[in-house]
């Protein structure tokens, strides 16, 4: 599949070159050659890693659980997530991560549309209500701006997982967070979305952005006192990091003035800021060989986001 080869190129690009070799001032041509060589080596060692290879073990420090829902109507939601092996996939996805303690990740009924990291329990709670709400707000046919149903459900759900994972990592790894932690968690989420090629990046970033686009912004003065940024701020933050990391794949958002030029100008720099934060604070806790294998897997399936 030519798509798979393309995605491998991009993946190699981000981690091997951009993150680890950012300080090496090599020419463009040399860079392309190095990436190509690295990709060849990767591919020969991995042969065809298009779908989940059985040898990629789950992270033994991630304990997953699908908790029975309180409401009957969430039963079907749980069954769907179970059948899709969402948490099993997540545990495998996290296999490169060296955690100092056990992280619990569970799907459950929360009584509200949300997802949480609970520091006292070292646990991420993904609420059935949140997933059901995504299915409710996802457009049945593509919106005029081009957001599709699959993108909203896939991107929105992965964003919730990655955002909470951000809180969990900041806490468990004692990571310095200078800015607003909520934005830091969003940045980690967007950054992870950008590590699996252009297609995955577009699906997940667009979906995540849509969820903030449809939320209500603060109006009164005291609403600005909230610990989260305004949904509109978060919307632009995601698009900006995406454009900074994958200018080609997200150029249309600038061309259509969805991401204003004034902000777009700073997006490369914003992406570099996040990449540096990731490289300095999280990468030391990651097994790089395993990470490359995780990056070579096609995590999304054509059936994802469908009922």
């Amino acid at each position: 599949m030519s798509g798979a080869a393309n995605m491998t190129m991009t993946r190699c690009d981000w981690f091997n070159l951009d993150i680890l070799g950012a300080r090496m001032r090599i020419s463009r041509i040399a860079a392309v050659l190095i990436v190509a060589a690295a990709c060849l080596m990767l591919q020969s060692s991995l042969t065809l890693a298009q779908s989940r290879p059985p040898e990629l073990a789950a992270n033994s420090r991630v304990i997953i659980d699908y908790i029975d829902p309180r409401l009957q109507r969430s039963q079907a939601t749980m069954e769907r997530l179970k059948k899709r092996q969402v948490l099993e996939d997540l545990s495998m996805f996290l296999s490169p991560l060296k955690l100092p303690r056990v992280l619990r990740v569970r799907t459950k009924s929360c009584g509200q549309v949300n997802a949480f990291y609970v520091p006292a329990e070292w646990a991420i709670n993904l609420c059935y209500e949140f997933y059901e709400n995504l299915e409710a707000i996802a457009p049945n046919k593509p919106t005029p701006q081009g957001y599709t149903r699959d993108e909203v459900i896939i991107g929105g759900f992965i964003d919730a997982i990655f955002h909470e994972l951000g809180h969990a990592l900041f806490d468990m790894l004692n990571i310095p967070v200078f800015g607003r932690e909520e934005d830091g968690a969003d940045q980690l989420s967007a950054f992870l979305m950008l590590q699996f090629g252009k297609d995955v990046a577009r699906t997940t970033i667009k979906g995540a952005a849509f969820t903030y686009l449809s939320a209500k912004n603060p109006r009164t003065r005291t609403e600005f006192a909230a610990e989260h940024g305004a949904p509109a701020q978060r919307f632009f933050n995601y698009l900006c990091l995406a454009y900074g990391g994958e200018p080609e794949a997200f150029k249309e958002f600038v061309d259509q003035n969805i991401l204003p030029k004034s902000r777009a100008e700073s997006c490369t720099r914003e992406f570099h800021q996040v990449r540096r934060a990731f490289a300095k604070t999280i990468l030391p806790h990651i097994d790089q060989d395993l990470m490359k294998r995780v990056q070579s897997i096609q995590w999304l399936r054509p059936s994802d986001g469908k009922q």
Binding site: F178, E181, D183, N217, F224, A225, G229, F235
Partner: protein, 314 residues
């Protein structure tokens, strides 16, 4: 809602208590707590001036090799003559020379130029490897915003002027420091710079914290505006968010001294509950990323100096 009106009551209250009693310095960071709380004893008659730079009897700041050698400062001559009085005022107060002294504990790997310049905008964002710039236009805006006819028991307009100036300088320097020291920053850089600036503001005792944080927040309050959809695309946060962020740092650092923020409903209870934890996170970030680049001996000296005197020489 008119911010100035909303704040007036609370500010009058602070004004009434601010200079009434000798204030205790409450240094809050570092592996070891610096001992000398001489900071924060008001000595009227000077503005933004460590006492050591003028009087021989002053404590802590010695003559001679003081100031960060790697920090250069410049008051560039503005093309527009309307900014000349601002330039003269800042030069007279040695505002940037004070900053050089203030930054002396910071171990920089390269030279850093801090300049005041005409930008034809209120702000000239720092570019990696470049200079830190404070714009005459920004200072002029603060001057215009600071109310001239304050009631006798109200806060002096100089409080806003000094607070907003110190805030802007520390904010811009923080962004440069993130770049120069290659500090990992999670969260938006501009918010992170406010956090670092706020953290520094509360390291010099209650007196300095009150003056600068209240002064800076007062300016954010007074320059608050309605934000529409595309405004939210800005990499800067809305004035209202920055207002609350600074107050939250102050309350998180010293709940006793800043309890009035909650009593006066300036800081909503819901946010206030989180400020202590937010401050711990900020302190952790500082300790892990910036503190390794700080000379502890010099830091203690800087903390022991008297920095911010509000009363403007008229």
């Amino acid at each position: 809602m008119n911010g100035i009106t909303r704040l007036a009551l609370a500010l009058a209250l602070i004004a009434a208590t601010l200079w009434a009693a000798p204030l205790q310095a409450q240094p809050t960071f570092g592996p070891s707590k610096p001992g000398g709380p001489e900071a924060g004893k008001p000595a009227p008659g000077k503005v933004f001036r460590p006492s050591g730079s003028e009087t021989a009897a002053a404590p802590a700041l010695p003559d001679g090799d003081w100031g960060n050698f790697l920090v250069d400062v410049a008051y560039n001559e503005p093309k527009d003559p309307q900014f000349l009085p601002i330039r003269e005022r800042l030069m007279r107060r040695q505002a940037l020379e004070q900053l050089r002294l203030f930054l002396s504990p910071l171990k920089l790997p390269r030279k850093l130029l801090v300049q005041i310049d005409q930008c034809n905008a209120e702000r000239r964002p720092y570019q990696p490897g470049g200079a830190v710039t404070i714009c005459y236009e920004y200072i002029a805006k603060v001057d215009q915003t600071a109310p001239r006819n304050q009631p006798p028991d109200g806060l002096p307009r100089e409080m806003m002027m000094v607070g907003a100036f110190v805030q802007a300088v520390l904010h811009e320097v923080a962004i440069a420091v993130f770049d120069v020291l290659e500090i990992p920053v999670w969260g938006r850089e501009s918010d992170a710079a406010d956090k670092l600036a706020g953290f520094i503001m509360v390291q010099f005792g209650r007196d300095v914290a009150l003056k600068v944080i209240v002064g800076a927040s007062w300016f954010f309050d007074a320059s608050d505006r309605a934000w529409s959809e595309t405004d939210f695309a800005s990499e800067q946060s809305p004035e209202a968010q920055r207002f609350y962020n600074y107050l939250c740092i102050a309350f998180g650092a010293d709940p006793a001294s800043f309890k009035f923020l909650i009593d006066q409903k300036m800081l909503p209870e819901r946010r206030a509950q989180r400020c202590t934890n937010e401050f711990y996170a900020l302190r952790l970030a500082f300790a892990k990323t910036v503190l390794p680049h700080v000379d502890q001996q010099l830091l203690k000296r800087v903390q022991a100096a008297t920095w911010l005197m509000l009363d403007e020489p008229k």
